[in-house]
Structure formats: C-alpha cells, structure tokens
C-alpha cells in the first residue's frame, strides 16, 4: 500500500491541481456573477428595471386629452374616435412634458391622409378609401374634412 502511494504520488498531484482549479473557479464565480441573478428565474433581475425605465416617445392619448380636450371631444363624435392623437401627430411625449420647449408640428394633410385612405384592393372593402387623383384633385383634404371628425 505504501509503495502504491509512492508510485502514484504524481497522480495525487494531478488530482490536487484539479481540485485547486475547481475550487478556484467556484470562488471566482461567487465573486463575479451579477447581483440579482436568479431572483425570479435564470436571468439578471435588475434587467427588468433596466428595460422598464427606458424613456418613452409616445405620450399616449390620455396625456394629450388632458390639455386638448376640445379636439378630443370633437373626435369622440366622429369616425376617427378610435384613432389616437399620435397616430397622426407622431410621438409627442416630449411635447407633453414641456409644451413650450417642444412644439408639436401640424402634419401635412396631403401626405398624411392618403397613407390610410388611398384606395387599395388589399385593404378591407369596408374601410373608407378613395382614389386620390379622382377625389377632389388639387384640393387639400382638410378643405372639406375636419381631421378630428371627418364626416361631411
């Protein structure tokens, strides 16, 4: 037995080296794995807040309606009732936060209205659409249609 130990001493050294590597790795791991990892699942829990605290660009129609309640009221009575403000006016969270510093720009009807209402056989048949060349050509859409309540 003593002879066996003497003859396999190099193997003992090898095993010891392996143990040192494994223990070293586990210690390193404890130190380096980010805090909060594994709290809710196999991920870094702080990532949820990292993502949730990103800045917003669209204010949401509720924010618009707080100040612009007249347009909001007009809208509820018309066909665009379900169209939110920023669907046409673009992202306006900056404006809602500081209206004087960030002025909203009125969209151009010529470009805007046809995006939805240009006749297209791919669109649902029940959706109101016109061939813009033939529909009061040369006139701006808002000449006849109030964008917040478009029915004439």
């Amino acid at each position: 037995m003593k002879n066996l130990l003497k003859e396999s001493e190099h193997l003992v050294r090898l095993v010891l080296l392996a143990v040192v590597l494994v223990v070293g790795f586990l210690v390193f791991r404890k130190a380096v794995v980010p805090t909060g990892f594994g709290r809710y699942g196999h991920y870094r829990a702080p990532a949820l807040d990292d993502i949730a605290t990103r800045p917003i660009s669209f204010a949401g129609h509720e924010a618009c309606e707080t100040c612009h309640d007249d347009q909001a009221k007009t809208k509820t009575q018309g066909k665009h009732a379900q169209v939110s403000c920023e669907a046409c006016h673009g992202p306006l969270a900056a404006h809602a936060n500081d209206p004087d510093a960030n002025k909203a720009v009125k969209p151009n009807p010529a470009a805007l209205c046809v995006r939805c209402h240009e006749a297209d056989s791919d669109k649902p048949k029940s959706f109101p659409q016109v061939v813009s060349r033939d529909h009061a050509p040369g006139e701006s859409c808002v000449t006849c249609h109030n964008p917040h309540s478009p029915a004439i």
Binding site: N3, L4, K6, E7, S8, E9, H10, L11, R13, L14, L17, A18, L21, F25, R29, V32, V33, F37, G38, H42
Partner: protein, 387 residues
C-alpha cells in the same frame, strides 16, 4: 425585395446569422473527435497495427482542440462576455454545455491522457534540457520525477481508464454540436434526431482522414518510411465508417423525400439551386462517393503499396473537403431558406472582416503550426526527428 432575395423572407431573416466561422467549429471539433477515436482503437481495442499513429493522433487532436474555440470567439457579439457560459449556464440550452464539455474533454481526457503517456519523456526532458525549455518541462512534470516501472504501470492503467472515458467524451464533444442544430424545432433542415449521429459519424470520417494525411506528410518530412500495415488498417476503418456515415445521410434524405412534408419542397428546391455545387457536387459526388469508391477499390483489388498510398491520400483529401462541404451545407444551408417556405436568400461572405473568409482560412491553417510545435516539444517517435 432586398438584393439576393428570391421570393418572400421574413424581414429579419434576410441576413444570415451564423457565418463561415460556425461552419468551421463543427468541422474542427469533428477532426478532434475522429482523431481521438482512432487513437483509442489501439489503446482500448488493442489493434496493434494502429499503434504507430497513437501519439500523433493525440497531438493532432490537441492542436485542433486548442483552435476550436477561436471561431466561436470571433463570431460572438460580445466575446468578452463568453465566460458567462461558465458562470451562469442555462441548463435548458444545448449551447450552454459547450464550455463544460470542452473543458472536460481538454483537461480530463486529452491533456491527462497525453500527460500520462508522455510522462517518461517529460521527466527526461526536464532533467536533460537547458533553460528555458527546461522550466517548461519541469512545470509539466507537476513536480514529480518518479518514472519507475511501477509508476509507469500505474500511468498505463490510469491512461487506459482515461481513454475508455474519453471515447464517450469525444462522442459528447462532437455529438452535442449535432444536437445544437438537431434540437432547433424552428428549422426543418436542422431538426432531426439523426443530426447528432450524422455529425458524429462524419466527424469520425474526417478525423481518420486527417490523421491519414498528417501521418503520411509528417513521415515523408521526417524522411522515414510509412508503416503500410498501419496505413492499411486506418484506411480500412475509414472505409467502414464512411459507409456507415453515408448510409445515415441517405436514410435522412430518403426519409425526407418519402414523407414529403411542408418544408420538403422548399428544401429540395434549395438543394438543387443554391446548394447544388456544395451539396451535390462537393459533398456527395467528390466528397463521399468518389472516396468510398477509391477505398473500396483498395479493399477488393490487390494494389502495390505506392498505389495504395496515393489512393489513400487522394481519398482522404477529398473526404476532408467533402466533410467541410457537409458542415457548410448544414450551417449555411439551414439559413438560406425562409421559415415561411416562400423564399431564399444569399450568403454574402466577406473577406477581411471578423467573420470573413480570411479569418476562416487563417483558423484552418493555425492548427498546423501548433501541431508542429507540439511535435517538437513532445515527439511521438523514439528516434530524434531529423527536423
């Protein structure tokens, strides 16, 4: 649609995600697994004829294994975070096991087996060499200079066990790469239970072919005579494994053609157009059928050793190209078609970028200088090498 796109692809699918570097990784680990299995033949199954290439196979495996993680590191968006796979491996992910399987195979199998086999030489070098190489060997001895017959018998015993464990470990090292692809249900070109098996058998084919080529090259560089009995035996194993590998691939193909489900038509079209050269010409005809025919010829017809040598070399070289083509067809092919089955894209391989052709070529060449260094530090053969 976007240039290079035919039909319809989901907008995010147009650009390929896994490049030529990801073609290299399974190829390199395949060579490692194959070379190691070949080495194990002599150790575990006591096939004496292959003994002359035992050490060479181990060193070839090591040279390729050291290069294997490099294509992956070059590919990662954040290689500096790759250590996360060791820190927080996600147990449901096939890829998470990579780091551990690799480390296990490198440390517990390959390096241990090489160390146990070479220990006598290492101690001898540590005692006779001059600094600084003397220190390198001294470190490798782990501080033990006991090379008595008793200790060497123990080394042999333990080495045998390590080799025994090494065989399934080698299967695992490369088989799980097949599983990484085979388990992706979203991709019908990859998703099949046959994938790990096909990968493994093609790995063995490529590894054996690599050792055949390397052995002949190194022997000629050394100015020695090739051991024909050894070469014939290795070639015989190459032939058997190749037939098995080809049968498995044909099984997969015939199965797909017969079942002819939704994805088949899209995949079939892809193979006949975008993958025609790499799959039909390079992989099947030149890379499989032709080498099998050459090897079969050497098995049934009595040929002169010189002729056999040439046939083995040509067959092995074609095999190596063919298996590389197979990896290409799996990795790149799996990304050329849309998951909507309505379109195809093109792989735009660049040249000098991080994932381009130039780094790929450099990575394929790199194992050879490493092998050269290993052959210098740990010569496989008794006599001092001429170079």
């Amino acid at each position: 649609m976007a240039p290079g796109v035919q039909g319809f692809m989901y907008p995010n699918e147009v650009e390929l995600q896994w490049s030529v570097l990801i073609v290299l990784y399974p190829y390199i680990t395949g060579l490692v697994a194959g070379a190691f299995i070949l080495a194990s033949l002599s150790r575990i199954f006591n096939i004496a004829a292959v003994k002359p290439i035992y050490r060479l196979s181990l060193l070839t495996a090591l040279a390729f294994l050291l290069v294997a993680p490099l294509p992956l590191q070059l590919h990662l968006g954040h290689p500096e975070r790759s250590f996360e796979m060791y820190l927080t491996p996600h147990k449901t992910s096939a890829m998470a096991m990579f780091g551990f399987v690799y480390l296990w195979y490198l440390l517990a199998v390959l390096l241990t087996e090489i160390w146990l086999d070479y220990r006598g030489d290492i101690v001898h070098q540590a005692q006779t060499r001059r600094a600084p190489l003397k220190w390198l060997y001294a470190v490798l001895t782990l501080g033990s200079y006991n090379v008595s017959p008793g200790s060497r018998r123990i080394d042999d015993r333990v080495g045998w066990v390590v080799t025994l464990i090494g065989i399934p470990s080698a299967f695992l090292l490369h088989g799980y790469v097949g599983f990484i692809f085979g388990s992706v249900k979203a991709n019908p070109w990859w998703s099949t239970p046959l994938m790990p098996v096909v990968f493994l058998f093609s790995a063995m084919v490529s590894g054996i072919a690599a050792v055949l080529v390397v052995y002949q090259a190194v022997t000629r560089i050394r100015g020695r005579k090739v051991d024909m009995a050894c070469l014939d035996t290795v070639a015989k194993y190459l032939f058997y494994v190749f037939v098995l590998d080809f049968s498995l691939e044909m099984l997969d193909l015939v199965h797909r053609m017969y079942e002819s489900n939704e994805s088949f038509r899209a995949l079939d079209f892809m193979v006949h157009t975008r993958l025609f050269v790499s799959q039909i010409v390079l992989q099947i005809y030149l890379g499989t059928l032709l080498p099998i025919a050459m090897l079969a010829l050497t098995q049934v017809v009595k040929l002169r050793p010189a002729v056999r040598s040439v046939l083995y070399t040509v067959a092995s070289s074609l095999t190596l190209i063919g298996i590389l083509a197979m990896r290409w067809n799996v990795v790149i092919g799996g990304q050329l078609f849309s998951k909507s089955f309505l379109g195809y894209t093109t792989y735009k391989m660049e040249f000098v970028t991080r994932e381009g052709l130039l780094p790929a070529i450099a990575l394929m060449i790199l194992p050879f200088p490493i092998l050269w260094v290993l052959l210098k530090l740990l010569p496989p053969w008794e006599e001092k090498a001429a170079t």
